[in-house]
């Protein structure tokens, strides 16, 4: 490791975009699944 | 088994009972394996074939083959172990024999120890047959002495057997058991694989830096950790 690494902004942007994008996608999928679970919940619960 | 301190007669009797039960599980398992030895033979041929395949995949360059002999040997043992581990519980499940054992009742710890030791014996036997083949095939040689080679082999196989027995008990009653066992087992075996391969490499190539002991220690620690942990957890796995 000699000297400073110059540039590499494309990697930085890639890293941040991957982070934000995957956080958003996972959040969406979780919200969707939680909502689906919630709407499905009363049915089995209401059975005797 | 002499416990530290003063073992009461009751403790001793319980220890003896555990040992007898363990011994009978070992005998039962090995007897079953011996009766179905066609399967053992098939596993052995599978392992040898794996060794051969590595040579074809990596190329006939003898130098690199000799260098990596330890790695190929352990991969062959690891891949075959999945076959033999799965088998050790398949028979039990097919006719509900495991439940029968629990109902007699046999201590779950005895079942675990018996099965794990039986698996250890089988794997070590496989390794004993594979080492000369690997030596011949890859042009490696045992330079650290025979006892050391056997010690490393036994420790490595024991490291596979303890968590392997626990996970085989689980995977065999789940769906997709063939893929589940390696999926669960291989990740946690990485330290053992690294230790066994490095130690075997030093056994093959000589140990100028005196590192063999640290790798052996790593294997011993892994074994202590997992034999104890799996012994404790196994009861919960087979409970009804």
């Amino acid at each position: 490791m000699n000297g400073t690494i110059v540039g590499g902004w494309e990697y930085i942007w890639a890293a941040y975009l991957v982070t934000w994008g995957s956080l958003a996608l996972y959040a969406l999928s979780l919200v969707w699944r939680a909502r689906k679970a919630k709407s499905g919940e009363p049915q089995p619960g209401s059975k005797p | 088994m002499t416990a530290p301190g003063e073992p009461t007669p009751c403790d001793r009797a319980r220890g003896v009972a555990l040992l007898t039960a363990t011994a009978s599980v070992i005998r039962k398992d090995l007897l079953l394996e011996w009766r179905g030895r066609a399967r053992i033979n098939a596993t052995l041929f599978f392992a040898i074939m794996t060794l051969l395949l590595f040579s074809f995949a990596v190329g006939p360059e003898t130098k690199s083959l000799a260098q990596n002999a330890a790695g190929y040997l352990w991969l062959a043992i690891l891949l075959s172990s999945v076959l033999s581990l799965g088998e050790s519980f398949r028979i039990e499940n097919e006719n509900g024999a495991l439940e029968g054992l629990r109902l007699i009742p046999v201590d779950a710890r005895a079942i675990f120890l018996g099965k794990a030791i039986a698996n250890l014996v089988l794997l070590t036997g496989l390794g004993v047959l594979l080492i000369p083949i690997a030596v011949a095939l890859y042009g490696a040689e045992i330079s650290a002495g025979f006892p050391r080679a056997v010690l490393v082999l036994v420790l490595g196989c024991a490291a596979i057997s303890a968590p392997g027995t626990l996970y085989a008990a689980i995977a065999n009653q789940a769906r997709a058991r063939d893929v589940l066992l390696p999926l669960l087992l291989f990740p946690i075996l990485v330290p053992a694989l690294v230790g066994a391969v490095k130690a075997t490499q030093l056994v093959f190539q000589g140990d100028p830096m005196g590192q063999l002991d640290s790798w052996t220690t790593l294997l011993v620690i892994f074994n202590l950790m997992y034999w104890l942990l799996c012994l404790v957890l196994f009861g919960r796995v087979v409970e009804e």
């Binding site: 400073t4 690494i5 110059v6 540039g7 590499g8 902004w9 990697y11 930085i12 890639a14 890293a15 991957v18 982070t19 934000w20 995957s22 956080l23 959040a27 979780l30 919200v31 699944r33 939680a34 679970a37 919630k38 499905g40 919940e41 089995p44 619960g45 059975k47 | 968590p163 626990l166 996970y167 689980i170 995977a171 009653q173 789940a174 769906r175 997709a176 058991r177 893929v179 589940l180 999926l183 669960l184 291989f186 990740p187 946690i188 990485v190 330290p191 690294v194 230790g195 490095k198 640290s214 790798w215 892994f222 950790m225 997992y226 942990l229 799996c230 957890l233 919960r236 796995v237 409970e239």
Partner: protein, 229 residues
Amino acid sequence: MQKALDVGLPIVAIVFLVVGGVLGLTVAPADKDMGDVYRIMYVHVPAAWAALLAVTVTFVASLVYLLKNNWHADALGEASAEVGVFFGALLIVLGSIWARPTWGVWWDWDPRLTTAAILLFAFAGYLALRRFVDDPERRATWAAVAAIVAYVDVPILWFSVRWWRTLHQIQNTGESTHSVMTKSLLWNALAFALLYVWFVRLRYRVALARQAEELAEPPETEPAHTPAP
């Protein structure tokens, strides 16, 4: 309260992410060895912390389940494991993106990153196991066992990879602490922690709903909800 958390957590987390991003990408100075590339640390390290937190929560929840047969612990373990696998996968990808400009390779056998990768597979196995077992009680017990066996592996795994790779220089994660650097890391870490809590809450609800569904089903197997004495 529940509603407030559901809405508040993601909003606060996004605010923190934005602040952390602005600080990390523009305000914080370039590192004197790593140049600008080190800025990946501000998302990489929080991802690692979140993943470690997640598997630790799963481990503790698994212990609680085995000791108390508590079904909430089972649901929490399941939720946290999945979130942990998500953060772990993110961590591996970020590590790979960081390794490329720094060492010129996509994968470097750094002990921490390698341990994380192996652990990721172990917990992916945990999730697969949950999928492949139908009986709820067996699933909960076996999954708890698998989580404990995998978690206990971490220290020895880390040591073995480190010994295996002794030639490798121990990676320096921005020890040269500039106060802005610490601040950007902190903002991002808080954002990830909040997101972790939010994710687990959502996923926990999915797990609870599935449990309720299974327990309400006509008993084809024995009822699974009898807590052992």
